[in-house]
Amino acid sequence: MSKRLGAQTVALPSRPGILAWASTAGQKEKEGPYGEKFDSIIPDELNGQQSFEGAERAMLEETIVRCAQKANKALGDIQMLLCGDLLNQIISAGFAARNLGIPFYGLYGACSTMAESLSIGGMIADGGFADAMVCATCSHFCTAERQYRAPLELGNQRTPTAQWTVTGAGAVMLAGGEQARHAGAVLTHATCGRVIDLGISDANNMGAAMAPAGCDTLANHFRDTNRGFDDYDLVVTGDLGHLGRDLLIELLKERKITVREDKLFDCGCHIFDARQDAHSGGSGCGCAASMLCAHLLPEVASGRLGRILFMATGALLSPTTTMQGESIPGVAHAVVIEHEGGKRR
């Protein structure tokens, strides 16, 4: 049976299992609506380290270690680490891998990294190439500001469409073969996104830059699998934010796709509430990753959610491209996560 379903989607017939997950977040996230659900909160932005970069790295390492503990595995049992982050040369991922000693494939999908790592991990597991892997990613407000935007103490105003980079990390233990039997949640499909650019060049409007890619991947996923919103309990997006979510809905409608807005759950919109002045919502790899591991996976594993589509979007810009007047390309990857035990309740 061919595993390829159409132009961009693959099926994972062996249904790789999600054995365990771990999430970490920062103080601001703790004060948000899902604050109590994160496994661990870092004490402050430096997390006991000398630099913000060190803090992010330590947060990521801690999350991966906890994930392994929850799966009752030693670090040495993990066969692959699929990991990435927002920083130049993905230093958080690379240096964490150095410290943890796990065979490492570094990924860069900007904020789509969680879905990208799960997609690739799912295919590796389904292909029988590994039966214990960790897919992880992280982001940190201070390191992202430093690299992409402005020094922390600069007295600038954020625009209404600006988003707040989440300080957070998520790690998922994927298992194939026999191991997968113990899983409460499984991966069934992965859709690989194409890079879409509709000319947005405002680096303070990530939502608008990424929404077209989200629409493209979602539309192609539905077409390849012959499914729609009704086949899922939730269609989750990573960090489109309020404006990006509205734009996605409009774009889907223009493509004649029936949208169930009550099922469209954007992690960026939910991780902070209105009082926290995050403008258009949360963003960053850690946004989707931490929400997946803190909230969505527990819901799926328990059966309260039977089947979700997890789609993270990323903006593939750099400060250089912005200064050179380039527009911002976006990409979105999607995976289907089901409660083990079959279809929805």
Binding site: Q50, S51, R146, A150, P151, L152, E153, L154, G155, N156, Q157, R158, T159, P160, T161, I196, L198, G199, I200, N205, A208, P212, C215, D216, H242, L243, D246, L247, E250, L251, E254, S280
Partner: protein, 149 residues
């Protein structure tokens, strides 16, 4: 993707939240005006209080305002003022100082030479380049006019 970039730009514009113009402008006015008044007070202290000449008093005022801005930036207060006041804190010379101090603090981690040393003028550099540059041009033109006239 069938959608044209122009059509998408219009859609984005339609759905984008609008910032409250009036409130922002009023805050910029109030805080900017206040910073100028503080400058005037400092100037008067040097002019009338210490009896310094006009030029010296003006220079001293600039230095004092820069110092205050650097202190507030270091204490983590100036960014809050900036969030509230926008241009009211960017346009006065205190904004120039904040734009110098902020990257210096931020890149301390990268060392004294290539961190602070190299990055201190990252944001305020353009003001110096174009300000000093245009004053040189102005001077050259004036010198030329002298020669011709």
């Amino acid at each position: 993707m069938k959608k044209s970039k122009q059509a998408y730009a219009e859609l984005v514009k339609k759905l984008s939240p609008k910032s409250d113009m009036a409130k922002g402008v009023w805050r910029a006015f109030a805080v900017g005006g206040l910073i100028c008044v503080i400058g005037q007070v400092i100037n008067d202290v040097f002019s009338y209080g210490l009896k310094w000449g006009t030029q010296s008093a003006a220079t001293a005022t600039s230095i004092c305002l820069v110092f205050l801005s650097a202190l507030l930036t270091g204490l983590g207060v100036y960014d809050r003022i900036g969030k509230y006041a926008g241009a009211g804190s960017i346009v006065p010379i205190t904004g120039f100082a904040n734009a110098t101090v902020a990257p210096a603090m931020e890149f301390r981690r990268e060392g004294l030479v290539m961190g602070i040393g190299a990055k201190i003028f990252t944001l305020s550099g353009p003001v110096l380049v174009y300000g000093i540059g245009s004053s040189i041009l102005v001077g050259l033109i004036a010198a030329l006019v002298e020669v011709i006239g």
